[in-house]
Symmetry: C2
Subunit: 764 residues, 2 copies
């Protein structure tokens, strides 16, 4: 059992003691977020205890600044600006002193130090005794009910009387500089930060304790940050010059005293006036919260979390550690999703600054499925974000000399390309098809015609257009439609021709567009959308022909699917002579060394076959799986879950189980050795997918759900719920059978191991 | 006739008038250099007349500073530092005043402004009349006899009497900032300058007028710069605070007065003490020069230039403009070559700061042939430079995970890779074979066994080793030896497999090494070299096998040589719909757009076939030529000369003539629209090659020279001299016949149109 996981606690992670390294990693694991704000699980006194802290930031989804990208050698069409989320004023710092001596881990003896992340309640609690003089208990949560709100309750039990106890609460008006402030530099390309992270901060008059109007330097984004403390009459308040509040009282032994602290982070505004108008809204909100009091706000939060789990939990009987890991991943996944249609899910969620808070294909291919089948309304919001950045994607396509259609940025916050290395950035044009795939999956899963014939239609048409303009019919391949000079998901192979994944995804993208446009025309829905984007009927033929003739590289001799035209012509990486410390390869070998060999960072062909598993024979999939697994390093956290699911698909349950263990515990065990920079949100989605698509065998095609459940021998039962076309379906798999219960919605015919099964809601 | 070329002047370029744009471009055309220093042809008052100046730098070959390269996204093995030549204190500035009014083009009326670059004498003269008050004549040359020396003679004829004439001479102790100082920024990736160009400058006590010890900030290079003025007694000297010298006198109408100015640039030193010791050496040198006086130093220079031309001139009867263009190119080529074994030839020579003063493959493949056959001792020095950077090349190979052998930097000054864009930098591993090719050609042309079994042997072995470690035997190609993930000469196609040029060159590289090592063993020469680099006999077999099985991509169906494995699978660029202003493509299209299409920046396959033309049938060459010419933009200045020579090779003399016109006049006509940043030195070499390899049809194989002369119908005669194995051979081609005269050296059997011809030196 991992030290964070305690026997009998299937709903929590518990840290005991004060191991410096573990506390730093736990800043990520214990991060709390609600899709709008996220705050790392740093110690309240982190700024005073650098040895016990890494980056204590509080982030707001989509609140970023830019900086020009400097290239050693520039070329036309390169991304122009870094976009980087910036830590906000940090309201959770607390400084407790007893007779002038400050409570922190570095100066006094701390005993019984314990922190618990309660996944069920969405609550982080900490308790410890300091110098045998005070017992401290701090509880923290980020509210889903009030997306602006981070709440803290501080309970202190003095063990001695007649001392002066003070609690200082600070809302910094400067951004913290995290690791950089400590002079730590890092060349890991997966972390990139602005060289100067700055915003202007203006103190506002407000009925709240302190309120700041912050404005980013280059992007001109505005937000308000405010803090309010609720204290009983026993406390005496003094306000210092820097506007920090200090509460003081004389201790009485064994008598617990309490402070409640609320920090508010407004939505993001593009105009200063909008932010100014928000002051009143924030004040009203905080009045409401003051009126309710900490206990009621907390109770509401716990209730919301319970509702969430009722629809989102995936139960495993048979392995408590995996159960915790799975819940932990679902918990963080839920915390990561922007729900305002203007923001998305960054690769690290809101748990850390890795990857600069950028949105990647990770959202659509790894994280969205969870929301599709448990919170379709959130899935819609995430896709609406993509729709909102279509203008930037169209502009980008023009920059790439694509005359019609759109090309989504490989990594972005504001919709513009922010990838400074195009071979593993812009060249990954598959992101277009990934987004189209997600749009189609959403339509399939929800029958949401409003979305389908508005945002959905526009995305599908604009992405389909891209493919016919990017590729061409290759006469030397009997007129097959080819897509040259692309990079597939596997970033250890770049700038290749006819990446199988890309071509297969593009083919489906074309089909999705074709189908949706034809339906739109038939139903006379979305015709205004088509007119606005200048759709012409001849395009249908272009798409149909490109799809039909799409080249899918296959080696007849070995009967293997080829990752791309040239993959098999490369030398297989010398794995035997590559020591463990040389992984991940990207940190130890030049791209040309890596690209020259058969070596994969992650699932590529295998991912394509997972997504359309019904299009391939099991023999084919098994053959390809064996081949590609042998050359895959899993240096990307996006890899193992796919190999796990495909292991289920080809019937290798032991392997599927082993991969599942890795994915479920990836961050808890720090498998990728960089959890400190943030959770691996895509892998978290992949963990959920491993349960639902992997062990339960969910596939969605022919307008309904298909299951082929396989329960690992180590488990006695798995159970979960999915939403599908306004229905709620409970699934319980045991070694004996699988039960499908329609809890909400109209009857439906689903498929179990290929056989139809009609399910009806008996409640009604 | 181009305005710079005057009828009847086959040895000069003349600028008349004061056209701002032309004067800026002419800074490059009128640059004077000697391989050690180079000074741009700027006006003496350039610093006061920014509208008439672009970059007035004086450069020293190999005097550079570094700056860390910033990458938007870093990866392992990336080049770490920019290396950039830095302009030195500029001693050629002159400020003439008459009664306090300063003579410059912007403040007064200038008439009869004329500048002449005398190619024969290696001399730049300028004359003009200002405000009808003074006539000025300034002459400038950079000495080959004293590589440290830049000399100026200022002659002023006042047209009015009793005015105060002053001449102020400045040796700036700050580097000029060129275009950047003027706030001009440029995103052209072909120009890259340090963001801050700095060196420290220390004034030294010296018997010379002024002497500075300059030290670069990061590279710690040292050099001395000194200036000395010789003036008659009629002048009164005053020295100002900034150590500038002002000479003054009262004018007498029509009486010419004169000043002589000498500026000295020491060699480069790596240690401060060495530079300090050089002070005395410089003083002695300048004492000698003072003793000789300007006229004698000038006479010596003119004599040296005459000797140079006696061996290097290529005469054309029939087109004066082309004759001037050709001589101009030879003139600049000669000016560019470092001759100390520690420096090389930068892509712009010493005529401008384009490409940062870096050395590329341009040296070996385009510029070295001229020296090989006219100044073999200079060719040797250039190759010794490559030998001197073998340690850096070995280190680079290790960084690229190549266990044995060396990989030369794509662009460099100090031997370390300075290319910040590896797809068109480090990926051009063909540079290894290019250098080996030049080494072998040098050995062939000179029979220099000392070099062959020392530096030559080491380079050949270390480059051959690279190939067997970089490539592998591809089972899917019947065991053919393949070289994947490379970029060939054509930079519009990057990161491909089996670039024909690279593979063919590598094959020959392996053969060269094999042959030379076997000879060394047989002659028992260079065995110490082999021992020192750990040579093992099994390597010979490896090289032989890789060479024998080298994969050379060929399309049987169309009978075309394939530029690489996938070139023909790409879509042909839409040339018809690409307006002229969109060239060069690299400034208007993203690399992925360019790489995705069949479009070449320059000769690639055609270059390979030129280099080994005897290995291919004329049919094959003609077929490939037609195909590749149609998809080549010549956006690289390295392209046209090759197409020209191959046009000769396949018998299309009209085309050869047309390309020759372009290459001969490329910089004079500013064909590439960036001559202001420096001459296109490789094209200048290519122009010479076009005469010798093109029209005269020189090929060197089977240990002798082969000619297949073809005289364009526009010409009556061409004549030139080559050095070959200690012989001097004069070649004269007329419509009637070709005469080969052995002027120096032992008899030799050469081949004329495939037939042997024995030539004997009748002088002796």
């Amino acid at each position: 059992m991992h030290p964070l996981i305690q026997q009998g606690s299937a709903w929590s992670l518990t840290e005991t003691g004060t191991d410096k390294e573990q506390i730093k990693q736990n800043e990520t694991l214990f991060a709390l977020a609600n899709g709008h704000i996220g705050t790392r699980g740093s110690l309240e006194e982190a700024s005073r205890t650098p040895d016990y802290s890494y980056s204590e930031g509080t982030l707001m989804n989509g609140f970023y600044d830019t900086e020009p990208i400097t290239y050693g050698e520039w070329a036309y069409g390169y991304a122009t600006h870094h976009q980087t989320v910036i830590p906000l004023p940090n309201g959770k710092r607390i400084e407790i002193s007893l007779d002038g001596e400050t409570v922190d881990l570095e100066t006094g003896e701390t005993t019984n130090h314990k922190r618990t992340l309660d996944l069920k309640k969405g609550m982080l609690t900490r308790s410890f005794t300091w110098e045998n003089a005070v017992q401290v208990e701090i509880e923290r949560f980020v509210s889903y009910d009030y997306p602006e709100l981070l709440a803290q309750r501080i309970q202190i039990t003095p063990l001695v009387s007649n001392k002066e106890l003070t609690v200082k609460l600070v809302l910094d008006d400067l951004a913290e500089m995290g690791r950089e402030a400590k002079g730590e530099t890092d060349v890991d390309p997966r972390i990139k930060q602005l060289t100067a992270r700055r915003f202007d901060s203006q103190k506002l008059e407000s009925s709240m304790g302190k309120m700041l109007h912050i404005t980013t330097h280059n992007t001109g984004l505005h937000a308000l940050v405010g803090a309010m403390t609720c204290a009983g009459d026993e406390w005496t308040l003094s306000i210092e010059k820097d506007a920090s509040e200090t509460y003081a009282l004389q201790t009485k032994a064994d008598q617990t005293v309490e402070l409640e602290r609320f920090i508010g982070y407004s939505p993001i505004f593009h105009k200063k006036e909008e932010a100014s108008q928000e002051v009143e809204t924030m004040e009203i909100l905080f009045d409401v919260i003051k009126g309710l009091g900490y206990d009621q706000v907390r109770a509401k939060h716990v209730y919301t979390m319970e509702k969430f789990w009722a629809l989102s939990d995936v139960e495993i009987d048979g392995d408590e550690a995996l159960q915790v890991g799975l819940r932990f991943n679902i918990f963080h996944l839920n915390q990561a999703a922007g729900r305002d249609g203007k923001t998305n899910m960054s690769a690290k969620g809101l748990s850390g600054e890795g990857y600069e808070g950028h949105y990647f294909w990770d959202t659509e291919m790894y994280m969205l499925p969870f929301f599709l089948y448990t919170q379709p309304e959130t899935a819609r919001k995430l896709l609406q974000y993509r729709h909102s950045i279509l203008p930037q994607a169209r502009k980008r396509a023009r920059e790439m000399a694509i005359k019609k259609g759109a090309l989504f940025a490989w990594r972005t916050i504001n919709g513009e390309e922010a990838s400074a290395y195009y071979p593993a950035g812009t060249a990954q044009v598959h992101i277009n098809a990934d987004i189209a795939h997600a749009v189609y999956a959403y339509i399939q899963a929800t029958d949401d015609e409003v979305f389908a014939y508005n945002e959905g239609l526009e995305i599908l048409v604009e992405t389909a257009r891209f493919w016919v303009n990017y590729g061409h019919f290759d006469e030397r391949r009997e007129g097959a439609f080819v897509l040259n000079t692309v990079t597939g998901p596997d970033e250890y192979t770049a700038i290749v021709n006819n990446n199988f994944y890309t071509n297969l995804m593009a083919k489906h993208n074309l089909d999705y567009a074709l189908e949706t446009v034809m339906k739109a025309i038939a139903k006379e829905c979305g015709l205004d959308v088509l007119a606005e984007i200048g759709f012409e009927k001849e395009e249908l033929e272009q798409w149909a022909e490109a799809s039909e003739k799409m080249f899918l590289p296959y080696d007849k001799k070995t009967k293997l699917t080829m990752q791309d035209d040239s993959f098999f012509h490369k030398k297989v990486w010398d794995f035997d002579n590559t020591p463990a410390k040389k992984y991940p390869l990207l940190l130890h070998y030049h791209p040309l060394t890596i690209y020259r060999h058969q070596v994969c960072k992650q699932a590529d062909t295998v991912l394509a076959q997972f997504l359309f598993s019904w299009e391939f024979s099991t023999d084919q999939k098994a053959r390809d799986y064996a081949y590609y697994e042998a050359v895959t390093t899993h240096d990307s956290s996006l890899s193992r879950s796919v190999f796990g699911m495909m292991a289920s698909d080809i019937g290798d349950l032991d392997k599927a189980y082993s991969y599942f263990m890795d994915t479920a515990l990836m961050d808890i065990t720090d498998m990728q050795a960089n959890t400190k920079d943030g959770v691996h949100a895509a892998n978290m989605g992949g963990t959920w997918m491993s349960m639902i698509y992997g062990f339960a065998g969910l596939r969605v095609y022919d307008d309904t759900v298909h299951f082929t459940p396989q329960l690992p021998k180590q488990w006695q039962r798995i159970a979960f719920t999915i939403q599908f076309k306004d229905r709620e379906i409970g699934v319980t798999i045991t070694p004996k059978d699988t039960r499908y219960i329609l809890r909400e919605g109209k009857p439906l015919t689903i498929y179990h191991n290929g056989a139809p099964r009609h399910i009806v809601n008996h409640k009604k």
